[in-house]
Amino acid sequence: MIQVKNVTKKYGNFLAVNDISFEVKDNEIVGFLGPNGAGKSTTMNMITGYIEPTSGRILVNGKEISKEPNKVKKQIGYMPENIPLYQDLTVREFINYMADLKFVKRKEKKEQVEKVLEQTGLIDVQKRTIKKLSRGYKQRVSLAGALIGNPEVLILDEPTVGLDPKQITEIRALIKKLGKKHTVILSSHILSEVSQICEKVIIINKGNILAVDTPEHLEEEFKEENSIHITVEDKENKIENVCEKIKELKSIKLLKENPDNTKQYALIANSNVDLRKEVFDIFPKNNISILELKKTEVTLEDAFLKLINEKELKEKKEKEEKEKSKREEELNNMTKEERKQAIKQDKKDKKEEFNKKWEENRKKEKEFKEEMKQQKKKEKINKKTSKKENKKGGKK
């Protein structure tokens, strides 16, 4: 359905999207995930033909958008990020206009507008001016504008931002329903949303695609260890002895001692072993009562953070190494005396830096000490006054 091939977008020197390629099949709901400024909106804008890629090709249904823009645009319904709307029009007028823009035939127009209004729950406000609607309703109007004309591809840029929880669930359900008949691409930085709605996730950061997979796969892949959290009441402190009896258990860690004499442990097992049944069997037999037992799960959130952090760490290391090698090269290119001076300068810089830090630390220490002194003084005064009062009280 949609093929993105080696697409790059540059804004001047800034690389917004860096050589990305992916594919979206018919009737698939795909989620674009990424932090702010990752290139989500830019990619979507390129698919809809609002901006042109610096290089690369985008095919929708086998047709290239740069070559047959009007045919391709007819198949796409786009809901832009900042919900741009004609504020002076009423809801119905706006949707009528969008229908006209998309060449909806006159005979079908009324029926389609009616259908879209109903789908997005706008029937009650259809005669109100868009200016006067609340943000949630505006969002729905924007969605309705994307839906009209029954396009095969829906591209929704952050469709649920700024909605209240009830509206969010409504819109999500609507998108899921639409996904049965349309191909949907949506972007979001809310991970739970993506894992709920989408069949496929594309994680993107700083213009690069980090992963393309189903949410379940991603979660699986980033599972660190197979562990369960357990809260027990263990009066005789036998838990460690008991645990030695369980073969698959690798280690046990005390997480927290609760005030009501219960303790929380993490039991870590070899991978692919489910400990829960055994734990349930053995613990009560040894007078350890289980209050809570929970399998720890890796969420999409963890996977996402890990992916992004890994990438950043790598980049940081590379950068540092580059700087080092650069400096060395510079040193190599100098004459002996220059080199000596440069090294001296380096040492000086380092010393100065160190001195600065040291002085700062001393300052902080001083401040801290003074504070302590003042506190002590205050305490003394307090004690004195309280003693005096006590004496007075005693005399009386």
Binding site: N45, Y50, I51, Y97, D100
Partner: protein, 227 residues
């Protein structure tokens, strides 16, 4: 294109701009009608246009400044440019809608002509030629105003650019006669207002209009790859 014309034309009258434009224009025309024709007991309808053309300089930008700037600022240009409409039809649609508003106000000046006809015997041919010239001049102004609006997202800047350009074209021939052949205002003043259709000036006004429509299309088209 019809859909765009319809919507644009309607939106001029959803906001007060359309009414304000026509109101100011007719008000000024009335004043000039009184000062230039009534007080001299003349029946020459063209006198009014001589003064009214200076008013155009300041009020046409009122209409044109919002054409693309507003869409760009509100982001609604995204809706237009991702719809299956070509840039040419979008620009032409907007131009025609704005031109309609201007032309309506010009047609309304026929009321004054009717008054003249009732009280005297004005020259019909000369008056109509002046009317035609005035219409062409305002189309050229709308075209440039639209271009100014397409290059900035700030409406005020768009208006200032247009007014500055119109005033230049008005006053430059006063500094050097070499500008006479390129001045829009002079093209109108030199021939149409005297009841003569000169091919040279007709071509100047029309080609200027078309040129800046094409420039606007190019600006919008180009922004796709730069943006």
């Amino acid at each position: 294109m019809l859909a765009i014309i319809k919507k644009e034309f309607k939106s001029y009258f959803l906001s007060p701009i359309g009414y304000i434009y026509i109101g100011i224009f007719l008000l000024m025309c009335s004043i000039f009608f009184y000062l230039d024709i009534f007080t001299y007991m003349s029946t020459d309808f063209t006198y009014m246009f001589g003064s009214a053309s200076t008013v155009l300089t300041f009020i046409v930008p009122l209409i044109t400044m919002r054409m693309f700037s507003e869409e760009r600022k509100n982001g609604t240009e995204q809706l237009l440019l991702t719809s299956p409409r070509s840039v040419t039809s979008i620009v032409l649609g907007k131009f025609i809608a704005a031109a309609l508003v201007v032309l309506i106000s010009i047609v309304a000046t026929l009321i004054y002509f009717a008054i003249l006809c009732y009280f005297g015997n004005p020259q019909v041919g000369k008056s109509l030629v002046a009317l035609l010239g005035f219409g062409l001049l305002s189309l050229a102004y709308v075209s440039f105003g639209m271009f100014a609006s397409s290059i900035t997202e700030n409406q005020i800047i768009a208006a200032v650019i247009s007014i500055a350009f119109f005033m230049l074209s008005w006053f430059l021939p006063g500094f050097s006669s070499s500008f006479v052949n390129f001045s829009l205002m002079d093209a109108f003043y030199m021939s149409f207002i005297n009841g003569a259709i000169s091919i040279q000036n007709l071509v100047l006004l029309l080609s200027f209009t078309i040129l800046f429509i094409i420039f606007t299309i190019m600006v919008i088209q180009r922004r796709k790859s730069v943006k």
